[in-house]
């Protein structure tokens, strides 16, 4: 196990230009996230949660400052290196599930393993075990259009964690789900955090998710307002 934090940022700024006006979406964020943490970033709309997640995932580059994932400085990486890092070290869960519609549930979940060249048998074994663990066994051959929202989001979670990344970034994962499905999904992610030691970083408005946070970071106007460490998350 690496002693270095899963995520480290130093004075990260992200400024967007809109019609010649500079909008500071993230303002000087410095933080560490340790491996295995279950972190929730909360804040009102426009507080910079999603932008900060995109910065942590290497989906966008900071205007100023540095971001390290697992000790790798993202700001020094080429596009190709960033793609490799996303493939091997970062998992994403999106609000709109974003499964590839032409692939089955199993193919979606194993996609990153396929890109890494993991042999068929090992891939299928890993994904099937994970599907079993998160309660979607038997849905392997269904296309996303034939799955409910909750089932799609579980497949998305499986896709994010199956490669055992350094961290999983989840942007409003429960926003499109009803209460029961949201709770079930949160149980799944809590379980994965506890059993697999997966580091989760969420951006959310969802109070139920905030209640489970081991660490709650509140963002206001692109800056960290509070950063509260709590006890380990518990399934409810």
């Amino acid at each position: 196990m690496s002693k270095q934090p899963a995520v480290h940022t130093e004075e990260v700024w992200k400024v967007f230009e809109h019609d010649g006006i500079a909008v500071e979406a993230v303002r000087g964020v410095t933080m560490d996230i340790q491996a295995g943490e279950f972190v929730v970033m909360a804040g009102p709309s426009g507080s910079g949660k999603t932008t900060l997640l995109n910065l942590l995932g290497g989906l966008t580059r900071p205007t100023r400052g540095k971001v390290w994932i697992d000790g790798n400085d993202l700001t020094e990486m080429s596009e190709r290196q960033l793609a490799q890092l996303r493939l091997r070290r970062v998992g994403f869960v999106f609000q709109a599930y974003n499964l590839l519609p032409v692939l089955t549930a199993l193919e979606n979940a194993e996609f990153s393993l396929l890109l890494r060249g993991v042999p068929d048998e090992q891939r299928h074994r890993q994904v099937k075990a994970l599907f079993e663990k998160i309660g979607i066994a038997g849905l392997e051959n269904r296309r996303p259009a034939k799955l409910s929202g909750g089932q799609q989001q579980r497949v998305a979670v499986a896709r994010a964690v199956v490669g055992e990344p350094a961290l999983v970034l989840a942007d409003e994962p429960t926003a499109n789900l009803d209460t029961a499905t949201s709770v079930a999904l949160l149980d799944v992610m809590t379980k994965l955090n506890q059993e697999m030691g997966t580091t989760f970083v969420f951006a959310t408005h969802d109070e139920r998710l905030m209640a489970r946070a081991q660490r709650l970071i509140r963002l206001v106007d692109g800056a960290i307002e509070t950063d509260d460490r709590r006890s380990a998350p518990a399934a409810q």
Binding site: A83, R86, L100, L114, L115, R116, D171
Partner: protein, 425 residues
């Protein structure tokens, strides 16, 4: 890493199938474009082959061997000697040439006058080998024959004349006329001959201006025993002319004092120009057609890229590089192109074979015989099928498909991953 690359075409193929209505529409446009190209090429090549065949039979063959000065001078002094003729015949029997040679006919052509008691008309007097010429020019075939018969081996003082000449000189079968021309000594010599047959080609210049007499008679009359002015060679296809020319020129150049070996394009520049012009319009039509097809491909794939902006964002977030994302898009276009190209080939060749394998008769579309540059064109086009048409049709659609897929592929690389996640299709 090989496996990683296998993922991309699999994704592309699934996407082609996923947007099946769009793929079907674009694929149909592409397939019809290819089918139209095949259609126009098979019938166009068939028509050109027929034009060339008619032209070379009425003229001096696919390949003509003459004295270098003869084409310009048309004088008897510019003729091929019997010795040179033997060398040329030997060259035509070489293994790389003989298989392409269908007919060879020697001719002694002089410009002279056809005189009857009522009038005199300038004509080209062609001394021909009756047996060889009958198969070559087909001037004596049933469709051309108005009265009598064509020249036969053993004929001596016989002449075969056109209908217009017969009318002008008031000639009938068995009528006598005097041919006069300058002989090898420069003197004007006359030769009495009797009409054995009358032909009509539909080409006024031929029907009035050409008479055939036996070669031996012409040689004796002109005082050039064994010599000819032209050795006309008919090949089994116009496509082999360049290679036959190369081979014969090389051999004849070494063995003779100097004779010209000319292809039909040189001896019939008007026909060559007509075919090139026809090809030009054909290609222009195909280019316009393919530009429209290309726009259809660009539209389909670009729409697909724009529609799937979020999806490409996800692919990039999952670890695909820009180049790999572009490859997915490009491969979609390529797959659609190959598939549509093959279907278009099948459709084009199939339709032509099914509907026109026995020929496309357009005689109903024109009122009279269609002639130009001394050639009567057949109104029945027999399509010609060649591998080069397959290569050209498939090659054209591949070039169009590749070019039309490049821009959408490029657009896929310009997607901002973070922005793509906000995209709503």
């Amino acid at each position: 890493m090989t496996k990683r690359w296998l993922v991309l075409p699999r994704l592309s193929w699934r996407n082609v199938r996923r947007q099946w209505r769009r793929s079907l529409l674009t694929g149909t446009a592409m397939a019809l474009g290819v089918a139209a190209l095949v259609f126009s090429r098979t019938l166009g090549d068939g028509a050109h082959e027929d034009w060339i065949d008619s032209g070379v039979r009425m003229g001096s063959g696919h390949v003509a061997v003459q004295d270098p000065e003869y084409r310009a001078s048309r004088k008897l002094e510019d003729r091929i000697s019997a010795t040179d003729l033997e060398a040329v015949s030997a060259a035509l029997e070489a293994p790389d040439v003989a298989s392409y040679v269908e007919r060879v006919t020697p001719r002694l052509e002089v410009i002279g006058l056809a005189n009857s008691p009522t009038s005199a008309v300038p004509v080209i007097i062609m001394g021909v080998d009756p047996a060889a010429e009958a198969e070559f020019s087909q001037l004596g075939v049933e469709q051309r024959l108005v009265e009598g018969r064509y020249l036969e081996p053993g004929d001596r003082l016989h002449v075969y004349v056109g209908k217009r000449l017969a009318d002008r000189l008031k000639l009938e079968l068995g009528s006598r006329l005097v041919l006069s021309a300058q002989d090898a000594t420069g003197e004007i010599a006359g030769q009495l001959v009797r009409v054995v047959g009358i032909f009509q080609t539909g080409v006024p210049e031929s029907d009035e201006g050409i008479v055939h007499i036996p070669l031996s008679t012409a040689q004796q009359w002109m005082g050039v025993e064994g010599d000819v002015t032209t050795l006309a060679i008919l090949l089994n296809s116009a496509w082999v002319v360049p290679r036959v020319l190369r081979s014969v020129r090389a051999r004849v150049g070494e063995a003779t004092d100097g004779v010209s070996v000319l292809g039909w394009r040189e001896t019939m520049p008007e026909l060559d120009a007509a075919i090139k012009l026809d090809d030009f319009w054909g290609y222009l039509f195909n280019i316009v057609l393919f530009v429209i097809v290309a726009l259809a491909i660009v539209n389909t794939i670009l729409m697909s890229v724009l529609y799937r902006t979020r999806e490409f964002g996800v692919l990039r977030a999952l670890g695909l590089t820009k180049r790999e994302t572009a490859t997915v898009v490009f491969t979609e276009g390529l797959m659609l192109t190959v598939l549509a190209g093959l279907i278009g080939l099948g459709l084009g060749f199939g339709l032509v074979w099914l509907l026109f394998r026995n020929g496309l008769d357009y005689s109903g579309a024109i009122e009279s015989d269609f002639t130009f540059s001394g050639v009567v064109l057949d109104t029945l086009i027999i399509p010609v099928f060649r591998w080069v048409q397959v290569v050209m049709s498939l090659g054209s659609i591949m070039v169009i498909g590749v070019l039309a897929s490049l821009y959408p592929a490029y657009r896929a690389t310009r997607i901002d991953v973070a922005e793509a996640m906000k995209f709503e299709a």
